[in-house]
Structure formats: C-alpha cells, structure tokens
C-alpha cells in the first residue's frame, strides 16, 4: 500500500512543471514522509495549481468548445459506425464462406463494403486525431484534467447512449430499427456486437488516435501567422465535418423512430474534409522542417 501511494503520488505529480516536479519529489524524499502523506501533499499542490490555471479563460474555452462537444460527437459517430459495420462484420466474420471470394458478384460486394467501412474508419480516425490535437494545443497545462474529462464524456456517451435513446423517448415509444427487435436484431442481440464491438472501435479509432493527437498538439511550436491560419482552418473544417456527420446521424435516427420513416438521401462522403486536419498538420510540419531543420513542431 505504501509503495502504491508513492507510485500514485509520482503519477499525480507529473502534471506539475518539470522543475516543480523535481523540487517537490526531492522534498518528499528528504522529509521521509509516509506514502499516504506524500500523496495528500502532492494532491493538495496539484489541486491548488489546477484551480489557479482554471481562473483563466483558455482551459474553459477548451473544455466548453472542445471537450464536451467532441466527446459527445465522437462517441455518437463511433457508435454509428460500430452499428453500421457490425452487420457486415457479422455477415463476413461469423458466417464466412469461400463463396464470398470465389463468386464474382459476392467478391465485388465484399470489396465494396470493405472499402466503404475502411474509409469511414479512416475518417473517424482523422476526426479523433484532430480533436486530440486541438485539445492538446489549446489546453497545455490543464491537459490532464481536460483529457480525463474527455475520456469521461466518451465513456458516458458510450455507456448511457443518451442521444440514441433520447430520440426514441421523445418521438415514439417503439424499438429502434437497429435495436435488438429491429431488422438486424439477430446481430444486435449478440453481446459482442451490441457492447464489445462498439467499445473496441471506440478504443482503436477514438481514444488512441485522440491521445496521439494530444501528444502532437502539446509539442506544437509557434508557427508563422500564415501557416498557423492554414493549420487552424484545416482543423476547424475537420471538426465542423464531424459535427455535420453526427447531425446527419441524429436526423436518420429521428426518421428511424417515426411511424413512416422518410427516405434516406444518398449523402456525400466527408472523408476528404476529415483528412484536412492531419493533412494541414503534415504540410505545416514538413514546410517548417524544410525551413528550420533543427526545430520540430
């Protein structure tokens, strides 16, 4: 328990600046405090530091404009993609037969569905990375709190599924089309596709790329104004596309629970816009490196 408290104190103190981290951990080692006291001391300092930081508008902007909306939107879109691809995953993985490959028509379908799902996953990955990048570059010293809240928003979005059920409660008390009693009920009645598969997708396509983006965002150096403008325009366009994607999803859900669902229009892919964020970063990074080889953004 003592070792665990010390270990926890070290982890908590990582949110301090490197100099303060060194001074505080040195003081604790010198004073010979118990693990529990050390943990309480470090927690006290971290809380005081965070309170001081949250008196500024920047962390609040990052929290209100990024953490909450991004957490909910990414959770929504990830759930939408998990629901959509679960049917094909079930069809091709649980019911695999070589006919899918040997039959020309089935093979074309396999390639088409596979490519469609892969592109959607790529778009989600880009959105997550861009969201994380924005969060990292705007939060800086409050990043530990904002990232924890972001994960909480994702987890709550996934576990409670409020938007999914809200439309149902508001509009019509009958099961959703994609629910366990709907057209694809066979797929969603399996615990793996209704619970595990969305969680796995969220972990691989949202959580990990977001963390990667946060890391890159924290390392972002000051850029010249023109390049900064291009980078932020790309990032904002990507996040706006994410908002569009989830609002379409919301409308589809709303139509889905109406007594007579409206026909679903063919929607253009948002992948090119989703790619803008990472592409803008890559361009800014390479052009910056070409100009100043010693600096890394």
């Amino acid at each position: 328990m003592k070792r665990f408290n010390w270990w926890l104190a070290e982890i908590v103190s990582l949110s301090l600046t490197p100099e303060e981290w060194e001074a505080v951990n040195g003081d604790l080692a010198e004073s010979g405090e118990t693990g529990g006291q050390a943990l309480r001391d470090v927690l006290g300092l971290v809380v005081r530091r965070q309170i001081a930081l949250w008196k500024s508008w920047r962390p609040w902007l990052a929290f209100l404009a990024l953490v909450v909306p991004l957490g909910v939107l990414l959770s929504l879109v990830s759930r939408m993609m998990a629901d959509g691809s679960a049917i094909y995953a079930w069809m091709y993985l649980n019911n695999w037969t070589w006919t899918y490959v040997t039959n020309a028509g089935a093979r074309i379908d396999l390639i088409r569905y596979g490519a469609d799902i892969a592109l959607k996953y790529l778009a989600l990955l880009c959105w997550s990375w861009t969201g994380g990048f924005l969060l990292g570059s705007l939060s800086r010293r409050t990043i530990s709190v904002n990232v924890s809240l972001f994960c909480l928003a994702l987890l709550l979005g996934e576990l409670l599924e409020p938007p999914r059920n809200l439309g149902h409660w508001l509009l019509c008390p009958r099961p959703l089309g994609q629910g366990a009693n709907g057209v694809h009920g066979g797929v969603y009645s399996l615990a793996f596709y209704s619970v595990m598969f969305p969680l796995i997708l969220q972990m691989l396509l949202v959580v990990l790329p977001s963390f990667w983006g946060v890391r890159q965002g924290l390392r972002l150096a000051t850029l010249p104004i023109p390049r900064r403008t291009i980078l932020w325009t790309c990032m904002i366009a990507t996040v706006a596309a994410l908002g569009t994607e989830s609002s379409v999803w919301w409308q589809l859900r709303t139509w889905d629970v109406r007594p007579n669902p409206a026909p679903v229009p063919h929607l253009p892919s948002l992948l090119p816009i989703a790619l803008l964020g990472p592409l803008g970063y890559w361009l800014a990074k390479t052009s910056w490196r070409n100009e100043r080889p010693s600096r890394i953004i």
Binding site: A23, N25, G26, D27, S31, G44
Partner: protein
Amino acid sequence: MLGEFEYLLLTAAVRLGKDAYGAAIRQEIEAITGRRCSIGALYTTLDRLEKKGFLKTWMGDATPQRGGRAKRMVQVNAKGVQAATSFYNAIARMSRGVSWEAKRTAVEP
C-alpha cells in the same frame, strides 16, 4: 500587507539564510509553530511572494538524500524584508496593551 503564512514563510527563509529551500523552510515552520505545513501551501505561497517581488527562487543542487533531485532555493530580497518588517511592526503596535501581549512580556525576560 502580508498574510500570516506569507510572513511565516519569509521569516523562515531569512532565518535559514543560504540554506533556505522548500523542505528546510517547511521543517522550520513546522518546528516553530507546531502546525503542519503542506507542500501545496508552501509552493503556491512561494510563487505568490516571488510574483510580488519579495523573494527570488532558483533550482539548486541535487543531493543523494533527495534521490538526486534538485532543491528550489529561496532568497528574500530587500523588498521582502521591508514587507516582513512592516507586518511585524503592525502586529506589535496592534498587540500593545492587550491581555495576551501583557502575559507574553511577563513570561519572557
């Protein structure tokens, strides 16, 4: 005007002189007042006093007993000494004639 803890911290740093750093100041305050001094209170107050221009801090040497980690050294400057002096004088003037002040002078030679 300083706060009570700010005064204690400045006084401890002056008493310690060249050996004033985080853990030593904390130990000094705890030993003299008999009250626990948390690291959070110590470092946030140090920052506040440094911002007010009463002291300066810098990273010092690392020692083996600190696990090879550097100390945050503290030095009170003239402005800090002036602030502490005026705080002490104000307290001393304010305390003249009150019962606990009379008791203190009776006990101490």
